[in-house]
């Protein structure tokens, strides 16, 4: 989707991508991005960086990964928030989040998976089978996790065609589960050391913790600025920032996001915003929205409201907690990393009351007028949890709209009407 001053086709070819199909994907993503993003008004100038990143999403960034790997570096692909980036970086490797936000090659996927699998899983499998994702093809190892049943089984299938390593995630957060998870993170330490040939040291882990915390701190600043009315940034733009956080170069991204946050804070001070003061404010919660899935944000914001927060993995769950930086021994630091990650409130845990508390707290802090709870169709976990979210939000005095959808555009008309009606009732 770039204007392609450089021809990346030879690089993509070398990575084993299917060139014609990949060209078609890039074009589709470019169009989606143009429609959803470049039509927005009053965007912060700091978003230019993310526009650029998107225009080079399969170009310059892949080139960086390629150069890194050619100089001996290793790249680890991950799908879920629970895989600790700090450990990967401490081993001198890079971590990239693998996108799974578009409908692609479902016909091939459905030959090996049931049709009623969630869009996220079908999408990542489709990208792999159709050979269109340069990130997965640049991954020396994909690290999965035993979160939901669908992913667990999907990693078995993926493992047949790509080097895959699966971390065992507990389903509860009792002391014995935490102990088990700490052991599991230590297995990752070993695995990362084995693949990179580097040793994780106190210094390297301390530096990685600091670096990744800094990235989260920058995103926290953006989130905090979003509490202002008028909102200084659109929900779509903030969502994009979180999505890009999963694969961009860490120090550079942090610096650019701090620049964006400076601008947003100045906007807040000047009372400037992307939507008029008093525009309806919505908090979105639920299943993650992997790149390039902007569907719900686009519908909400085109209907005239502004999304002020995302309680999701592509949102607050990613940046709200930091790893304590005061660990002195390697063991203490590994434990601190493990504990922080187990604090994430994903629906794959039982009970998961913490998520509901987060939703209510965020709705209050961000001044939301209503909550939209999103589930990907066939995601049993979030669909089931939806009822509890609904009850709690209503009890807190806010209206809630539950949406179950996937990545297709078939239901956009229907969803727009539902969202508009919801906004009218706020």
């Amino acid at each position: 989707m770039s204007d392609q001053a450089v021809d990346y086709h030879p690089m993509w070819d070398e990575l084993g991508l299917d060139l014609p199909t990949h060209d078609a994907l890039l074009e589709a993503v470019g169009q989606l991005f143009g429609d959803a993003y470049l039509t927005q008004e009053n965007r912060p100038t700091g978003m230019d960086y993310l526009n650029f990143v998107m225009s080079e999403v399969h170009g310059l960034r892949i080139k960086e990964l390629d150069d890194f790997r050619k100089s001996g570096g290793k790249v680890f692909g991950t799908f879920c928030l629970y895989v600790p980036e700090e450990i990967i970086r401490a081993a001198g490797a890079w971590s990239v989040g693998l996108c799974a936000g578009a409908e692609f090659a479902y016909d091939e996927v459905e030959q090996i998976m049931p049709r009623n699998t969630c869009a996220l899983i079908k999408s990542f499998m489709g990208f792999k089978l159709a050979k269109v994702c340069p990130y997965i093809e640049s991954s020396d190892l994909v690290i999965g996790e035993t979160t939901c049943d669908g992913k667990k089984k999907a990693y078995e299938l993926l493992g047949e065609i790509h080097d895959t390593w699966v971390m065992e995630l507990p389903q509860m957060k009792r002391p014995e589960d935490i102990a088990m998870w700490k052991a599991e993170v230590r297995e990752l330490v070993k695995k990362a050391e084995e693949i990179t040939g580097n040793t994780i040291t106190e210094d390297s882990l301390r530096a990685a913790i600091k670096e990744v915390n800094d990235k989260r701190r920058a995103l926290q600043r953006i989130a905090a600025a979003s509490a202002a009315d008028p909102a200084p940034i659109s929900g779509k733009d903030r969502l994009l920032a979180t999505q890009v956080a999963f694969y961009d170069d860490v120090p550079r991204f942090t610096q650019m996001m701090n620049t964006l946050a400076d601008e947003l804070e100045a906007r807040v001070a000047a009372g400037e915003g992307v939507a008029p003061r008093g525009a309806k404010r919505v908090l979105v919660t639920g299943t993650p929205m992997a790149l390039p899935n902007w569907k719900i944000h686009d519908i909400i914001e085109k209907a005239g409201a502004v999304v002020v927060g995302e309680e999701m993995c592509t949102g607050s769950r990613y940046y709200q907690d930091l790893v304590p930086e005061d660990g002195s021994t390697l063991d203490e630091m590994i434990d601190a990393v493990a504990e922080k990650y187990l604090d994430i409130n994903c629906a794959c845990f039982t009970p998961n009351k913490g998520r509901i508390d987060d939703v209510i707290r965020m709705a209050k802090d961000l001044g939301a007028d209503g909550v939209i709870d999103l589930s990907l169709q066939f995601c049993g976990l979030y669909e089931m949890e939806s009822h509890g979210v609904e009850e709690a939000v209503r009890a807190a005095g806010l209206p809630v709209l539950k949406i179950t959808t996937d990545y297709s555009m078939e239901d956009v008309g229907q969803l727009s009407t539902r969202v508009e009606a919801f906004l009218e009732m706020l």
């Binding site: 209206p399 078939e410 239901d411 229907q414 009407t417 539902r418 508009e420 009606a421 009218e424 009732m425």
Partner: protein
């Protein structure tokens, strides 16, 4: 203030002219293939100060007439509450979708549900089934009302239900009982949605399908509270849209 409320649906375009909150006129036309000129005809028909559009075609109207728009949900809520101040919920079965709305004070929407993505149980569904049974819409409703026991229909997908119905007809089953079975299936599904939004009585049953006596009977006997059917069930949306002008 003179307001024109336009409800541009998939099957019909309904117009209501208000002066203050008094209805001075109303009209209904087929959407046909050119809903744009059908609505333009209404716009030219009578003087007005404001237009508010609702329905499926509201965004098109917004561009064409530079007017405001509200969703059908808000419009049906306001229209129903104005016709029946005691109304606590609304059911609208239109040409291509079904909505259930739970109301609070003064027609304010508290919760709602719309059928997703397909025509199951809507006016369109009934048309297709009438054709499969070889009845006119009116005859089908009449037969369904008279039949004693319905034959259970297992699928609510328009396509599958149509072949199911054709199969039953070929097997020589009583067409009136099939018609009743179809109506029962829609009623059951609709009552389920009403439960999900916690709808209480009195319930206003509006939209084109509210003119179907068999559906009204079945919904009335299955719903916990009173069911009210407006005399002109089709224009509730246009009326509500016009009324929303006063809320701006």
């Amino acid at each position: 203030m003179r307001v024109l409320g336009l409800d541009i649906g998939s099957r019909s375009i309904d117009a209501v002219w208000l002066d203050g909150d008094r209805i001075v006129d109303w009209a209904v036309a087929d959407s046909g293939h050119d809903p744009g000129s059908a609505s333009a005809a209404f716009v030219e028909r009578k003087a007005h100060d404001v237009i508010i559009a609702t329905g499926y075609g509201r965004h098109v109207a917004k561009e064409r007439f530079g007017c405001a728009a509200v969703t059908e949900i808000t419009a049906y809520g306001l229209g129903s509450a104005a016709l029946f101040p005691e109304a606590a919920s609304v059911l609208d079965i239109g040409g291509q979708d079904t909505k259930v709305i739970s109301l609070g004070q003064a027609g304010r929407v508290v919760d709602f549900e719309m059928n997703d993505k397909c025509a199951a149980g809507t006016g369109k569904f009934l048309e297709v089934m009438a054709r499969a049974l070889g009845f006119s819409l009116e005859d089908m409703a009449e037969k369904a009302r008279e039949a004693r026991a319905g034959i259970a229909i297992s699928s609510m997908c328009t396509v599958f239900a149509e072949s199911e119905v054709t199969g039953l007809v070929h097997r020589g089953e009583d067409r009136a009982r099939i018609a009743r079975g179809l109506h029962e299936a829609i009623a059951k599904r609709t009552l389920g949605s009403l439960k999900r939004v916690n709808a209480r009585g009195p319930l206003v049953f509006a939209g084109g399908v509210a003119k179907n006596p068999a559906m009204v009977d079945l919904i009335s006997s299955g719903f916990v509270g009173e069911v009210l059917v407006p005399d002109e069930a089709q224009i509730v949306g246009a009326y509500g849209a016009a009324l929303s002008a006063a809320r701006e």
